[in-house]
Chain length 334, copies 2
Amino acid sequence: MQKKRVSIKEVAEHAGVSAATVSLVLNDKGSISDKTRKQVRKSAKELGFILNKSASRLRSGQSLLIGLVVNDISNPFFAELSANVETEAANAGYLSVIASTQDNVETQKFVIETMIGQGVAGLIISSATGSDEADFEVIRKHGIPYVLCVRELPGYAADFIGFDNFQAGVMAGEHILDRGYRDIAFVGGFADNTNRISRREGVKYAMRRRDPDLALVRDLVGPATRQYGHDATLELLAQSPDTSAIVCINDYVAIGAYAALKEKGREVGADVAVIGFDNVPESAAWNPPLTTVELFPRSIGSRAAKALVEKIRDNQRPPERIYLAPKLVVRDSA
Amino acid sequence: MQKKRVSIKEVAEHAGVSAATVSLVLNDKGSISDKTRKQVRKSAKELGFILNKSASRLRSGQSLLIGLVVNDISNPFFAELSANVETEAANAGYLSVIASTQDNVETQKFVIETMIGQGVAGLIISSATGSDEADFEVIRKHGIPYVLCVRELPGYAADFIGFDNFQAGVMAGEHILDRGYRDIAFVGGFADNTNRISRREGVKYAMRRRDPDLALVRDLVGPATRQYGHDATLELLAQSPDTSAIVCINDYVAIGAYAALKEKGREVGADVAVIGFDNVPESAAWNPPLTTVELFPRSIGSRAAKALVEKIRDNQRPPERIYLAPKLVVRDSA
DNA sequence: CTGAAAGCGCTTACAG
DNA sequence: CTGAAAGCGCTTACAG
């Protein structure tokens, strides 16, 4: 029952020209008379012709597909990033294929291979935790341009667009110290997440600079979720009751911390300071409004797409690493 | 500098068999000896072979690509829906292509054609406001299975997975009336959005059932954004100061209403009731926690993907419409 | 159990 | 300015 698609051949017959001519017109190539051009376009439209990209990709080796690999598309951070990649790519004529890895290296491998199989012209990747160079070797082997974003592979010479996480950590740390807090805990995120490491080291750097003897009260490792923020904070209050400030790996962890603190009768922003990262839109409406370090997923998305498009045009371009500056947003929680 | 991809032919040579045999092994078809099978797989692995899907799709007409068309991927509602489509599709062996329409009919047309050109096996569409049957005619003509979700085309015989928006409206209306509010306004969303119409009619139905003379104080049409929620509420307070309850088209509009009410010194949940739709995760943490009608984007996503996969297997299946029941979540704002 | 050959729908030199 | 022909990398009857 699958209807027959109309091919270039049928358009050619309808227009009274050859298939080659139709192809030339459709791709705005060659020197075709205006009359023929018009006739071909008219026939194509009348027949409802849609170019079969599989065939054209196969023959020409040219693709207008871009692949975006993220950890979890339902995370608002990546959703916003994806939206901008998509828009920017569309401006350059590319369609985006998006897939999530669930932050799992095996899934990431599968997804990348599938995308290569689909014939993507290039790839934008926020690498899964635990990735190393070998995981991107397939891409190199196939000569496909790619840019990494958000999560960096230390010492890996590839294009990268991300934040200066260390600086973000320093900003958070200095702000808390300025407010007079000294017993600081770091909560959430997995141990080998490079963003986590940089942010935490930034906080520690700010602390040492203030007072060489100052160290984190606790460093709690776990998923970057509201639930974990809640549970970890409870643990923190039980085991290190003197903790006066909690630096959370993101705003969701922070809202979990809010809940735990309220359960225990501690006032957020007065008894205990809480600071997050991301500045999700809702955090301004929380009670109290959250102090956080804003990152810019939308900028990352469009910069990454632009970089990839350039890379596709010239794969010889030497790799660039771009770090966007974070911004401290002071509200009432710290 | 583009490296040459290894083809099935090279694998065949390396394994000492024909290309046909390699294809058969890779697709688990035909009756190939175990020995040959193993040798072929080994060669494919050694050479880093990845099947060229463009070629296989061209030849076989079979595709493992699914297209998802939504209004705006950065909207958490669609982000969650998309995530589940993707997961469910992946379980069935399909890769998802996601694209946003910006709720624009022209963009939607372009996106659908592009996806057909890419050779998708099926399409899941949350139609742009203002779409009609003609916009999906291309898909039918090409014999491509598709299912609509979230937004319904009235009277259109196609598979559909969505919510019972009328029921959601009734739930919101009845709750507010039970709490004693009578001067109710409806805020946000565009006039021809079918979800908006159904929700509003549900509210009005609940009102008439309570008292035939009861009618909405105001019906404010506009974008479903926080900003509009804020501005419209300000307008409402100025022009209809007796308004005692605001039904917002979604939770983001509701948080905008919160802001405006606070600016004007009105206490949310006491002076003026506010109710939303969606139950975005953060709404529980707002001040006060939001009363809202929960919808289930994740369920829509997985149901839609399942329906599409079945439809791809049997395009003769008569269209089904599935309406998921909403759930009232009572907190402190109404 | 395996191979030779045709063909999917395009694009691209090349010839005229 | 336009057409005939080859070929991209696969899959699929068919023959043996």
